[in-house]
């Protein structure tokens, strides 16, 4: 089993993601540089957080056009798993691998803090070890996490159970007060229609060791492992 963590110029959670995946899964992890495109040897590709290309122009916009994204597209088209975290989610949206768009946080400020999210869909390859309604405590750290999609797109997301996580309070209630960035319907993470590409704003790699304050992020990496082992 082989994980690839994509390194764009300006990625800054690449090493953290590498560390967490290796630590939680015990599997082989490689860094994949942004100019590589032959990615056939990987079972899972992770687009980590950070400020790819400085997020100049628009978060994720330039990275979406880098060479490695051809390989990521091909990988996804073959039904293999792609996980985009934070900036990775923004890149997947910019690349058209996930629907919708990211706006600047409603506060117009960067937000870094622990939040609660509710698991809405426990049948994805990324969440199969969880259960719907489960509350996870993970950190966010972003300036553009204010997810938007038009009403037709939202209906489709809901109909296909593509909304995987919503921001909620500590008791699991999805409220405006629990929404850290103004995201539509408190959306914190979605999958593509096929279910093999997940984008999420919270950082599971920052919450995979007790000493960092939460181990809830392990659920994502362990679910991926389980999915691959079953397959």
């Amino acid at each position: 089993m082989r994980f690839g963590v994509v390194v764009f110029p300006g990625s800054n959670c690449d090493a953290d993601t590498y560390h967490a995946v290796a630590e939680v899964t015990g599997e082989r992890v490689d860094y994949v540089f942004h100019n590589e495109h032959d990615l056939g040897r990987y079972d899972v590709l992770i687009l980590p957080g950070g400020f790819s290309y400085g997020d100049y122009l628009r978060a994720g916009a330039i990275a979406a056009h880098s060479a490695v994204m051809d390989g990521v597209r091909e990988h996804a088209a073959r039904g293999r798993l792609v996980l985009g975290i934070c900036n990775g989610f923004q890149i997947l949206v910019e690349a058209g691998l996930l629907p919708g768009a990211m706006r600047r946080n409603a506060s117009l400020q960067f937000r870094c803090e622990f939040v609660h999210i509710r698991l809405e869909n426990d049948r994805t390859p990324f969440t199969r070890l969880g259960r719907a309604g489960q509350i996870l405590r993970l950190p966010i750290a972003h300036m553009e996490g204010n997810y938007y999609i038009d009403p037709a797109g939202l209906r489709e997301l809901e109909h296909n159970h593509q909304i995987v996580f919503r921001y909620c309070d500590e008791h699991g209630y999805v409220t405006p007060q629990a929404n850290p960035n103004g995201s539509l319907e408190n959306i914190a993470g979605i999958v593509n229609r096929e279910g093999n590409v997940l984008g999420m704003m919270p950082h599971p790699e920052r919450a995979s060791e007790a000493i960092l304050g939460s181990e809830d992020g392990r659920l994502i990496f362990r679910s991926i492992l389980e999915t691959l082992e079953v397959a």
Partner: protein, 793 residues
Amino acid sequence: MAPEPDEAQPKTPAWLALGLTHSEYNRIVELLGREPNQTELGIFSVLWSEHCGYKHSRPHLGLLPTEGDRVIQGPGENAGLLDIGDGWAVALRIETHNHPSAIEPYQGAATGVGGIIRDILAMGARPVALMDALYLGPVEDQKSRYLAGGIVAGIAGYGNCVGVPTVGGETKFSPAYVRNPLVNVMCVGLVRRDRVVRARAEGPGNAVMLVGSPTGRDGIHGAGLLASKVFVATSAGDDGDSGGHGNGAARSPESLRPAVQVADPFMEKLVIEACLEALETGHVVAMQDLGAAGLSSSTSEVASRAGTGIEIDLSLVPRREENMTPFELMLSETQERMLLIVETGHEEAVRSVFRRWEVPATVIGRVTSDGHLRVRNGDDVVADIPVAALTHDVPVYTVEQREPAEQAYLRAFDPHELADVDAETAGTVLLDLLRSPNLASKRTIWRQYDHMVQINTVVGPGADAALLRVKGTSLGVAITTDGNGRYCYLDPYDGVRHLVAEAARNLVCTGAEPIGITDSLNFGDPDRPEVAWQFRLTVEGMAEACRELGIPVTGGNVSFYNETNGESIYPTPVVGMVGVMENVLARTTPGFKEPGELVILLGPCRGELGGSEYLEAVHGKVAGRLPPIDLKLEKRVQDCALTAIRSGIVNSAHDCAEGGLAVALAECCLLGSPGARGVRVEFQTAGLSLPAGTTRPADATAPAESWRLDELLFGEAPSRIILTIYEQDLEAFARLARTHRVPWKVIGKVQDRDFQLILDGQVILDVPTGDMERAWQSGLASVFGTAEPEAGL
């Protein structure tokens, strides 16, 4: 601002416009044996500036103790280095970006972050944490709010993008900083002991490689102009005073904006990765940050440290603007650049690493053995200066010192002439204090900072100190920055002793042993006798405190000319301190953990009002005598707390500092775990007499009946720590306290919620935790809670 040759302005000699004096010019002529040309004059002007040359501070700084078992590198390099064990070293350094931030807060603060990160990088260390210590004008002042918002946004914009977590710091407000905010940024790095590099241009023939951003006209002469009298004169003009007198250099603050650099954190991130990877090739001899004074200082400093010379060719320097003159190229402060000394013959191996990261890397010259900085522009030699003249022959000034006239008046103030609080008012006063800008929660600031990236943050912002783990080891590294300008204004000597003690206490409260300091000394115009007096006493006091507590200084920063309208800021030394703990899992944090825990006050019970936060926030007074500080007692208290924490019997620990006992206890509640966010404290007046062994002067020991309630609740005193333990560990704790000969007292018990304080059976405080939470969280919400203008990201 691009100074032109002096022919254009015959009335003002070129050296004056560059901030040099007549006698300094004469000295330059003497050292060179000829008249300098314009480029050479420019190079001298920046290296002999206060910022680079430490002209007023050098004679005093030698007092600071700089040696210790753990010191691998003391002052003199880009950063200090401390041994933390297991083959690891910590790099630490603090710097100010006060003047740039006063002119252009976002870019000024952002480039401050970038510069200090490169100082750490230059040691071969990976930058792993930032701390920012901000001293800002009052929140009621609109300009101060604008500056505050821009500064915080700049730190966030840079730190978040570059991927170095901002794990803490402090923010204080005072009218003393109204037009001159202080932006002190500290960076900490980690490096394997055997991988340390130093910024020494060893090996004549080795290549001088310039990496990073192409050079532009940004920030030309920033170090020379911004940290100088020119800046003071300019800022004074800000309020409509006639600013056009003096040496003709006074301008509107906006006119100095081109002297502020523009930040590109994305490039910095690439520079960090590429430099660390380049070190792996084994062919990089030395690294040096290009910060203040750009190429001029970086080339002469690396040569100076190695006793070599350097020859560079400016025509090879990649640039982002056309027609740049040698003067501009040598003085440009374009950010995100590093100078590397690379083994001759291996240039390509190093260059290929930078190519992979798409970072420009160009060989611009060679190390020589003749001790000269020789600058060519193609075939022309445009500057040729003995390196020692730039770095060793910097003039040093000692200025007459005089105690400020108001000092005696400030000391004479007796807080006892003010009305005391009582059971009716104490609760309201506590809430007012929790709401006051200096004591309110800083969450609205630090949640704008990525404080978790690199996944080492075990304790983040909001505690006494931040704590990082070192992956692959059991080690923890604790970091704090502290400043107490008001104390130092009232009494520079004792103020800084309080400061060093408090910083160490903050580290101890996380369970870490303090091991080293990087200091940042923020002062007014050093030519004023009052400022010279403050500066000398500050350094002397710091030296004494460091010696008593056994904590060496590994280097730092001096920032003078912090004044507006002829008024100095408070003398504001800032201490960045690092501690180490062998088992990071044994950490403690300030919040109460479980109901029923015993609350212990370690150290003397009673505080004093002189210079206190309470006096300023509630009574509008900045005056009085500081509480006495006994560094020997302080050391015993810290040792006792550390031993107790290491023995595993301490559940929580919090420094009892600004706002006194009541505020510290409130903070323990507010930071408490669910179900442990309250406390019930009981005192008997009789029990409040000072325990034997405290060193309060006998004549000041007032009889119990004359005690004031506000002294008990809000008075401040050093050497105090609030601990919680389980009842079953009381005996063990008592033994430890006896061994260390420190006063202590069980003062109450943790409960689910609400803060009650009972004195002689009478309820003095009964404040719901919810009320405290609202006050504490709302204090700064209106300042930092709303959207601030963004730039660049």
